[in-house]
Subunit: 392 residues, 2 copies
């Protein structure tokens, strides 16, 4: 497919967008509408900030189109729109051309992602009205994990919950993980279908995924994005009896516990800071809680690497991505410490060399190639959108 794809990522109070040129595989423009519905809402288009009262997503998208008209580039070359949708449930494991039935299905899945899917859907609705003549494709953040086999996606809970209530591991960060695992195979110079990798997407949210021959076979997030690794404000794994324990000893309600586990836990809960740069600053200044938070964070990553090593049997690449994974050499060192017996280690000089490019940081000739690969979810959504339209 030639032309350009306009990628939209709509949150409850924001619209992120990027125009991708498919011939060159590059973003030619992009921006963000923030704080929709608030007085201080604003649009940043290609770095230019426009304060502007935006009441709802409909107005937000109009503001985006106005910014393109005023500042360029032209949208005349757009041949399709790609929409990020967080949760595809068990139903959507590939990108799908959106029609009214698909909209309804995304709505039905909303209980699985009550904070995200309704906002994603609102973005789809206003964009379909704005671009009624173009195809719109939904790309699901769960979809890449549709290949996880039953032994890894089934929880050991009453089977009625699994069958009737949709309780299973879904996983998230799928678009990013698909992108970087494909890039990793290219960097190794090997066919994607032959490479086993462990992808560590470490950002505000964080996940680990085991990829066997290009297919996700396990991932650390679960029915929601709370499970797994330590994150900025999310706990990751804890004893599932914790909510009941806190109800018993402190009279806490389930809602309070769930909010605390999602918003006041992780790095923030352990040391008061959720931005990884700030956590390091605190630790370097001697803050023991910050030091412990880093140790817990690194240990949990290593444990998942070991678990997925066992799941995969052999591993060709460990891939770091996301804001933390791409930028923090010290986190990468922590996350791979003590794993030499698994063939996993980083070369200190390579690891700390400044670069914004995809690159190997393991020693020459290492059994497992450790890579840093900047993620690009918008490009991946554009490519999946194009592929969906070509196939379908």
């Amino acid at each position: 497919m030639g032309g350009q794809v306009l990628v939209l990522n709509t949150g409850s109070s924001s619209i992120k967008y990027r125009l991708i040129d498919m011939a060159t595989r590059t973003g030619v423009a992009g921006g963000l509408v923030e704080r929709i519905g608030e007085d201080e809402s604003a649009l940043v288009h290609d770095g230019v900030r426009v304060e502007r009262r935006v009441a709802d997503h409909e107005e937000g998208l109009k503001a985006v189109l106005a910014a393109f008209a005023e500042h360029g580039p032209s949208l005349d070359g757009v041949t399709a729109l790609g929409h990020r949708v967080v949760h595809g449930g068990s139903r959507f494991v590939t990108p799908v051309l959106i029609d009214d039935a698909v909209e309804r299905a995304i709505e039905e899945i909303a209980p699985l992602a009550p904070l995200h899917n309704p906002a994603n859907l609102e973005g789809i609705r206003v964009a379909r009205r704005a671009f009624p003549g173009l195809p719109h494709v939904a790309v699901f953040d769960t979809a890449f994990h549709g290949t996880i086999p039953p032994h890894a996606h089934t929880y050991a809970v009453p089977r009625e919950w699994t069958r009737k209530l949709g309780v299973r591991r879904y996983g998230f960060h799928g678009t990013s993980t698909a992108y970087v695992s494909r890039r990793a195979a290219a960097l190794l110079g090997r066919p994607y279908g032959e490479v086993n990798s462990i992808v560590l997407h470490l950002g505000n949210g964080a996940s680990a995924t085991a990829v066997r021959g290009g297919r996700s076979v396990d991932t650390s997030m679960g029915i929601t994005p709370l499970a797994g690794l330590v994150m900025g404000t999310r706990s990751g794994d804890v004893d599932p009896a914790l909510p009941a324990y806190l109800a018993r000893v402190a009279g806490m309600g389930l809602g309070d516990v769930d909010t605390a586990l999602n918003k006041e836990s992780g790095l923030l809960g352990m040391c008061g800071a959720n931005d990884m740069r700030e956590v390091w600053r605190l630790a370097d200044a001697g803050d023991e809680d910050a030091r412990l938070a880093l140790d817990v964070y690194g240990y949990r990553v290593r444990a998942y690497v070991g678990a997925y090593y066992a799941a995969l049997g052999h591993v060709d690449a460990v891939v770091f991505t996301g804001g933390v994974g791409e930028n923090s050499a010290r986190v990468r060192a922590l996350a791979t410490a003590g794993l030499t017996r698994l063939g996993i280690e980083v070369d200190p000089a390579r690891n700390t060399a400044e670069s914004a490019e995809a690159r190997a940081i393991s020693p020459e000739g290492a059994e497992v190639t450790v890579l840093v690969v900047p993620t690009n979810e918008e490009l991946e959504i554009a490519e999946q959108t194009a592929a969906c339209l070509e196939e379908g």
Copy 2:
């Protein structure tokens, strides 16, 4: 210490007991009082069953003493009593000579183990009245895990929960794990302090523990025994947002979810049977739920082996114990499948050879020795009791 130790394991409606001779390190008699407080309560002493109405633990212990008096052996050689206590909290990380202050401390820890500690304490109280002249030692099931370092016992939750509410990984099965990891070192012919092992205690409850140089450095159970591996009726790890999800989509209460995760999940939840023998029978008869339950069970064990391999850096032994671990060659095969790159494999003939002895089941010369070691918690409690009295 010479003489004999009477080991008591008191549950809410039961008293298990075993008389251990310290010179020969063998059990010379033992039995069980069951269904205390019910009409069908009964005492089985050294295999002889006596139906007898037992109203409470006080009467239960009297019945035990009467059985010793009537059927023998004599209790005249008893020099100490050892009591199993499930939860020692952060306070008790070694066995302790019981006095009134210790009793009060065990009572204070009860919110951590509301089903177990009060019953353990009741057993201690009646036994101290029955044997006022002898030392009583409490041996805690959590104590062996007191060496787990902060990066592995700290949850990524608000630090107030950790500091004020006792929220941390405690771990259980410590007495069994201490016993079999020590036996494993002896079987390898190496000093305990130099051996790294992964202990898989697979019974109705199930746990994995990473032991570095004789000290627990991580374990799969958490603040309660719900976390970690798949068990007979317990889920093990699930997304900690599951209770909130079930409240949202099915209106379930926290208590209902917690009960279901503890009593109606695990193998039972997935396939309707919680006894491992029955699960295999169903699977062999073609039941797909049972086959899936086994696959989930085995996969989860392998994932913990990998995670603890990463935590330990190198591993000398993988040790199977507990009713399932000691008896099910097929579970052992499932739990080690695909781990050859980690140096872990079982020899099919050795694995399936019938034996009640501690034994190696890995191939000759394997990098990691895979062992089956029958556990003996009563002997371990007796030995820890004796050691506590000698030191103290």
